[in-house]
């Protein structure tokens, strides 16, 4: 992510607002790293993705992860972000109904993979789901219709998701799985490419076309609106055709570990 941001800075015109935004972002990441502080004050939704054998004690993991989240909040690494929607109460622990969020999947081997993603509220708000056909966009139930929907989402977002960002796209599925899997795309490495040539071409086209819109960092105008676009497909119902777009801001925070049976870290993902 950092390299992508640096490359982007070099592409923008000297002394442009776009270049100065990217320079500030770059300085910001350096500062955050050297002080072990949040790169953005919105530490977002806390999402855990766990792949583990079926014997893995999910309840115990949830409890433990909740305690860790509360401890990290007390240290100022996470902002108290868990708010009761009716009363507006925020008890400061970051633990409550639905927070943090857990996704579990059964894995075949004894290894346990735990991935953590922090997703900011600003970029979450510009996510969008389209039900095709969409008359306003002239978007039919085909890949070209998907393209129209996705580019519309980028246009509607302007700089509000803290561009430059990364898109996660899910074609198909239902309303719930669409968002779930569009977010799962953020677990892919920035440089990975889809083996399927159609999807790969789709991702490349979205990236190129979105950047041609000229929205730029923070929406100040410029060449860098997106750093990557990642897409997947899920089978759909005959009656539905959803295209779901999740937006991840430049403050793209994720980490993952692989644990052996005794709980030792054998690998860091995304370093």
């Amino acid at each position: 992510m950092r390299n992508a941001l640096l490359l982007a800075r070099d592409c923008e015109a000297n002394d442009s607002l776009a270049a100065s935004v990217l320079e500030t972002i770059h300085r910001n990441i350096d500062l955050a790293c050297s002080r072990t502080r949040p790169i953005c004050q919105d530490t977002g939704s806390v999402l855990f993705y766990v792949t583990a054998p079926s014997s893995f004690d999910r309840t115990a993991f949830k409890k433990l992860a909740g305690r860790c989240v509360t401890a990290a909040t007390a240290k100022g690494w996470l902002r108290p972000n868990s708010v009761d929607p009716i009363t507006g109460r925020n008890d400061g622990t970051n633990v409550g109904p639905g927070t943090p969020t857990f996704y579990f999947e059964d894995g075949p081997d004894p290894a346990i993979t735990i991935k953590l993603m922090l997703k900011g509220g600003g970029c979450e708000n510009v996510g969008a789901q389209y039900s095709l056909p969409d008359a306003r966009l002239g978007a039919d139930r085909n890949l070209d219709g998907c393209r129209k929907a996705v580019l519309d989402a980028v246009f509607q977002a302007q700089g509000k998701g803290c561009a430059p960002g990364v898109l996660g796209i899910c074609i198909g599925g239902d309303r719930a799985t669409g968002y779930e899997h569009s977010k799962i795309q953020f677990l892919r490495r920035l440089d990975d490419t889809k083996p399927d040539p159609t999807l790969r071409a789709f991702e490349e086209d979205i990236l190129r076309s979105a950047n041609a819109l000229g929205i730029g960092p923070m929406g100040f105008g410029g060449k860098t609106t997106l750093l990557a676009a990642k897409a997947c497909t899920l089978n759909r119902l005959p009656a539905s055709y959803f295209v779901t777009v999740s937006y991840m801001c430049w403050a793209f925070r994720r980490q993952g570990v692989v644990l052996d049976q005794s709980g030792h870290i054998t690998q860091w993902l995304y370093s």
């Binding site: 607002l17 004050q41 700089g159 923070m218 929406g219």
Partner: protein, 197 residues
Amino acid sequence: MRTKPLQTPLSEERVRELRVGDRVVITGVVFTARDTVHKYLAAGGDLPGGVDLRGGVIYHCGPVAVRGNDGRWQIVAAGPTTSYREEPYQAEIIRKFGLRAVIGKGGMGGKTLEALKQHGCVYLHAVGGAAQVLAECVTAVQDVWFLDEFGAPEAMWKLAVADFPAVVTMDATGNSLHELVRASSQTELARALSGSP
């Protein structure tokens, strides 16, 4: 491009000469206010005793603050939050309290733009997410209100700042960089959608 220094409290004259695209650095005092404070003030709530926002600056920000053993607050992250959520309230608050600048991110809508023009105020865009660079510019926490009622991010923090960087994206002449970029990207979008991939 030259950066223009702004010292709070701001005069109407100073604010009216600013133009979209100007880079500024702010020194003085800013007050944070997010959704809850905006809603509260727009609904007729009183400012905390002793707070005067005339010539003042409101910052759309929910900082991460930690309290040291000596009881003093320290801001560890302080980037802007999305301003658009305050669109229903902002114009009224600018009018009622005499604000001269609003700092946030993402820009605001027509109602606010009109209020900027009418009352002599500007919208300043800070780099979204640049919480550390911006926290560095906070030199002291001078006070905090509504902490228990609204929670830390939603509370009203009075922050002393030095050389806080931002860009004028909506000025008091009725121009908005957000509208300009939106319009040009709309043209590009139409082109992208009509052409085959």
